[in-house]
């Protein structure tokens, strides 16, 4: 069978992948350096002349001096020019190496994802094959679809990623082994491959194979094999399809001259050779998996055809004895038609397999793309988990709250212990996952650095290598420490849980014994009742003491566990932050070197990436700053948690139910957060929702601190008060209590506002005047008599005036 040996990402990049470009650059640099060496020699020669001679002062010596100066100028100009070219070339090389690194890194990520996926599938396939082997003949069929599906997926994946890891050597050995035992069967491998390729020589080769089989097996035995293999072949149809795809692709690739195709072909041929040379095809189906199944269908086809063709003599004999020649011919014709149908069917299957294979390749391509997206999501999720560190404190709070509100302390502790165990495991897993990622990243980076061409290394190579080696060692050490810590934590936790269980069992035993004794005593006469009560009281007292003792122990245990979790959490975060900081510092160092290099290019007016490097460095600095802020927040959260737990356990003994709330309040007060996080009624408020923070959507959504002498109104009562301030409300209540008038004006009078007093006086005068006007205003009463006389009485300021009118004289009296 094939063995799984995933190819490493670094193997994908061939040695010397960058050779043409790098070698060209190296040659160029070497040429520049040779020129520089020559020019430097000229400078040295001039300097030696200066040292060894004095200027004589004649024209010849002055002329020689002038020539030397001019030559030196030219040499220096040349050195500067070559240096610029060298820097430029070096920058290009570095840029190329950087791109190369990124490319390799990306490939590694994809390969790792693909390899992980394939490894899981391989394991699943091995399990299915094992189940298939052990299953009965009747139930074997149910495993076949899954085996076929996984096999196709794996092969598609291998083809899509270009990874072929067949252990060809095993097939080779097996082939030699069988070739020694089975004369003439050496060519069956090639035969089988071509059979599935359906080329023009298929029938001839089938005949050859049939004869070869006949040499080895008895005809009847071959028939038996063929019959059984036919049954198995139906189940192995898809597996055979895959094999056919192998061969078909091998032929295509061979035409294209692809060396990989040769490997395909070799693998396919040797696999078929091994499969066909198995002593019993039926057994092969039982033990082999898809490769042997494929061999089985080969053997089945060969045997069937050979039986039909090769046993012609016996059939004729049978026909002569039992049927007419005509019937025999018809029978032969029918058989030939069946053979033709089988061939057509196989051809159809072959085409279907090809189509299926193409669809699988496309699916695999999509899967690889999805893997990239999944990786991205995982990174985002991890980041989210890291950022949600505050959730840890909330979990502790919830746990303690559940202890206070329901289930009893014991149940709460057990629950807490379980949660703590899960939490420890989760934290360890997260930390390990993180460290694994770091370690792998460091390994990859180190490997890449080692693979760098000599041109790109210079001084930075040694520094990078040392740094990466150091990071690797540090990561390994942290991981070891983490393993040890994990073991310690888990064992301690298990011990605590067991201890609690043992004590609970003891308590139950005592209670049972007490109940038993009570039952025994109450069975007798009434005289024992006193003893019963006494004993009961004693037992209750003992039970109470026991419970108190146990509660104390449980609290102490919980405290230790909580402290341990907090401490572990603190240490883990510190280690993680330290590692992140180290990475950021390393990045910053690298950026600084790049900036210096790019700055030099910029100063010379050449193309550069200075802005990018500076932006990247600024980003790193920002990350570093964020990390510092994050560390501060984490430290504050841990500190808050410690204070909370300390206060909680201080209250827990006296007031278990209210301990959590008090601890919360006092924690906030101790940390100076009372006014910002919760609220205090020290200053009073007319509206809680306006002045305090909290969740208004739940009942009792505000945590507040009140003094013993303060008053709290319900929302309904407060709505009756309306907009009146607490101050006015209190004064109103005071006036009411003291029998003083209420209202706005007395309050104003009391306040001594002279303007308002004047206004009030003026108002009173106006009322007085108005009253006078009303008194002076005449009020008339008019009466019409029967005789036509009209009388009118007018009342003005207390005096009545009568006026009469007669229609005859048409005037008033």
């Amino acid at each position: 069978m094939a063995t799984s040996d995933p190819i490493k990402g670094t193997d994908i990049i061939e040695d010397g992948a960058l050779t043409p470009a790098i070698q060209q650059a190296k040659d160029y640099l070497e040429l520049l350096r040779q020129i520089q060496a020559t020019l430097k020699g000229q400078l040295k020669s001039s300097a030696d002349n200066v040292r060894s001679s004095q200027l004589s002062g004649d024209t010849e010596s002055i002329k020689a001096h002038t020539d030397a100066v001019n030559k030196n100028k030219q040499a220096i100009q040349g050195l500067n020019d070559t240096k610029k070219l060298e820097i430029e070339a070096q920058a290009k090389i570095n840029q190329q190496i950087k791109e190369y690194r990124n490319e390799v890194k990306q490939k590694n990520i994809l390969d790792k994802a693909a390899a992980d996926s394939d490894a899981a599938k391989s394991i699943q396939l091995a399990k299915l094959i094992d189940q298939y082997k052990n299953a009965s003949q009747a139930t074997k069929g149910q495993f076949v679809p899954a085996i076929q599906k996984l096999t196709l997926e794996l092969n598609s994946s291998e083809q899509a990623t270009g990874r072929f890891t067949r252990a060809v050597g095993d097939y080779h050995d097996n082939t030699i082994k069988y070739a020694k035992g089975l004369r003439g069967l050496g060519g069956i491998g090639r035969l089988a491959a071509r059979v599935f390729g359906f080329d023009s020589e298929s029938f001839i080769m089938i005949q050859e194979a049939g004869r070869a089989l006949k040499e080895y097996h008895h005809t009847q035995e071959a028939l038996k094999v063929a019959t059984e293999a036919n049954t198995a072949a139906t189940e192995a149809e898809t597996a055979a399809r895959q094999q056919a795809v192998y061969v078909a692709e091998a032929h295509e690739a061979e035409v294209a001259g692809d060396t990989t195709a040769v490997e395909y072909n070799t693998v396919a041929t040797e696999e078929n050779t091994v499969a066909i040379e198995e002593e019993n095809a039926v057994k092969a189906i039982g033990v082999g998996g898809w490769t042997l199944i494929a061999a089985a269908i080969v053997a089945a086809s060969i045997a069937l055809y050979e039986w039909l063709k090769g046993s012609k003599d016996s059939i004729e004999s049978w026909a002569n004895n039992n049927k007419t020649i005509k019937e025999f011919r018809e029978e032969v014709k029918k058989l030939n038609e069946e053979i033709g149908k089988s061939e057509i069917e196989l051809l159809k299957r072959s085409h279907a397999i090809t189509d299926y294979q193409a669809a699988q390749a496309l699916a695999r391509q999509k899967e690889l793309k999805d893997v990239g997206e999944v990786s991205k999501k995982v990174r985002e999720e991890t980041k989210k988990i890291e950022e949600d560190e505050g959730g840890f404190f909330i979990n502790i709070w919830r746990t303690i709250k559940s202890i206070s509100t329901g289930g009893g302390l014991y149940g709460g502790i057990l629950e807490s212990a379980e949660i703590a165990t899960e939490k420890i495991k989760k934290l360890h897993d997260e930390a390990e996952k993180f460290l694994d990622t770091e370690e792998k990243a460091a390994n990859v980076a180190l490997e890449l650095t080692r693979k760098l061409p000599a041109v790109g290394r210079e001084d930075a190579f040694d520094t990078d290598q040392e740094r990466l080696e150091l990071a690797k060692i540090q990561t390994t050490n942290i991981k070891k420490q983490l393993d040890i810590q994990r073991e310690i934590d888990l064992r301690a936790n298990e011990h605590n849980v067991k201890d609690l269980e043992i004590r609970e069992i003891k308590r139950l035993e005592i209670e049972t014994k007490y109940q038993h004794d009570l039952d025994e005593l109450t069975k007798g006469d009434n005289g024992k009742l006193i003893k019963v009560h006494t004993l009961k009281a004693k037992l209750e007292d003992e039970d109470y003491k026991l419970r108190q003792k146990r509660l104390k122990e449980e609290r102490e245990l919980l405290k230790q566990e909580a402290d341990a979790v907090l401490e572990f959490y603190k240490n883990t975060l510190a280690r993680k932050n330290k590692l992140t900081e180290t990475q950021l510092n390393n990045d910053l160092d690298m950026r600084q070197r790049n900036i210096e290099q790019q700055q030099q290019l910029a100063n010379e007016g050449r193309a550069n990436t200075l802005a990018f490097e500076k932006a990247a460095a600024a980003k790193d600095e920002l990350e570093k700053q964020k990390l510092a802020e994050k560390e501060k927040k984490q430290s504050d959260a841990i500190e808050l948690g410690k204070i909370f737990l300390k206060i909680y356990f201080a209250y827990a003994e006296k007031d278990p139910d209210g301990a959590a709330l008090k601890a919360m309040k006092n924690t906030f007060v101790a940390k100076g957060l009372a006014s910002s996080i919760s609220g205090s009624y020290f200053e009073g408020t007319e509206n809680v929702a306006k002045d305090l923070r909290g969740n208004p959507n739940v009942r009792d959504g505000y945590v507040v601190a009140v003094d013993g002498s303060e008053r709290i109104l319900t929302g309904a009562q407060n709505s009756l008060v309306g907009n009146m301030s607490n101050e006015d409300l209190a004064k109103l209540a005071y006036n009411y209590q003291m029998g003083l008038p209420s209202g706005v004006i007395p309050a104003f009078v009391e306040s001594g506002n002279s303007d308002l007093l004047n206004e009030f006086k003026s108002f009173k005068d106006e009322v007085k005047q108005l009253k006078q006007i009303l008194q002076d205003r005449p009020v008339s009463t008019t009466n019409i008599h029967k005789d036509g006389t009209v009388s009118k009485e007018q009342l003005t300021n207390g005096l009545t005036k009568a006026i009469h009118y007669k229609p005859s004289n048409n005037n008033y009296i």
Binding site: S46, T59, E60, I76
Partner: protein
């Protein structure tokens, strides 16, 4: 062709012996300045109609300059320039061959100083007639450039220079 060569040399020798200014005692300051300004070495010939190769005249001109240098020496500015240029050569070697980058600062200083000295020298040369006028004002008599030899003219300067010291 040996005879032609001999003939040519003989002719040249004759000319060199008789028709050119051999020393700075004979050469007038007028011609000295003129040759410096125009680089026309044919001014060294006493008889302008005589034929002579330019190369030979350059040799004579070099000889006259050597006489000048031997007698009066280099002027202070030139001496300083050459001294600094020699120092500069050593600095270049240290900076580029030994890769001692600290020297670049000193190189820059030396180059600036040399440039300043050259500018000063150039200004001085342009104002030859100004310096002559100053000399005449000090000596209280006019100098006939055509009848004053190079040696005599610069001797005045040397005398005044030594007197100042």
């Amino acid at each position: 062709m040996t005879w032609l060569k001999k003939l040519s040399l003989t002719k040249s020798k004759k000319i060199l012996q008789n028709n050119y200014y051999k020393t700075i005692d004979e050469l007038s300051i007028f011609l000295w300045v003129k040759i410096h300004e125009t680089n026309d070495v044919y001014n060294l010939l006493i008889d302008k109609n005589e034929e002579c190769s330019k190369k030979q005249l350059h040799i004579i001109w070099n000889d006259l300059q050597n006489q000048y240098l031997k007698h009066f020496g280099l002027d202070e500015a030139t001496k300083k320039i050459i001294e600094k240029e020699r120092n500069l050569i050593l600095l270049y070697e240290d900076a580029y061959v030994n890769e001692n980058r600290d020297q670049f600062t000193f190189i820059e200083i030396e180059e600036l100083e040399i440039l300043a000295l050259r500018n000063k020298l150039s200004t001085h040369k342009i104002d030859f007639y100004l310096s002559k006028s100053k000399l005449e004002s000090i000596l209280k008599f006019p100098i006939d450039m055509k009848n004053t030899s190079v040696k005599e003219y610069y001797s005045y300067f040397k005398m005044l220079s030594d007197g100042n010291q």
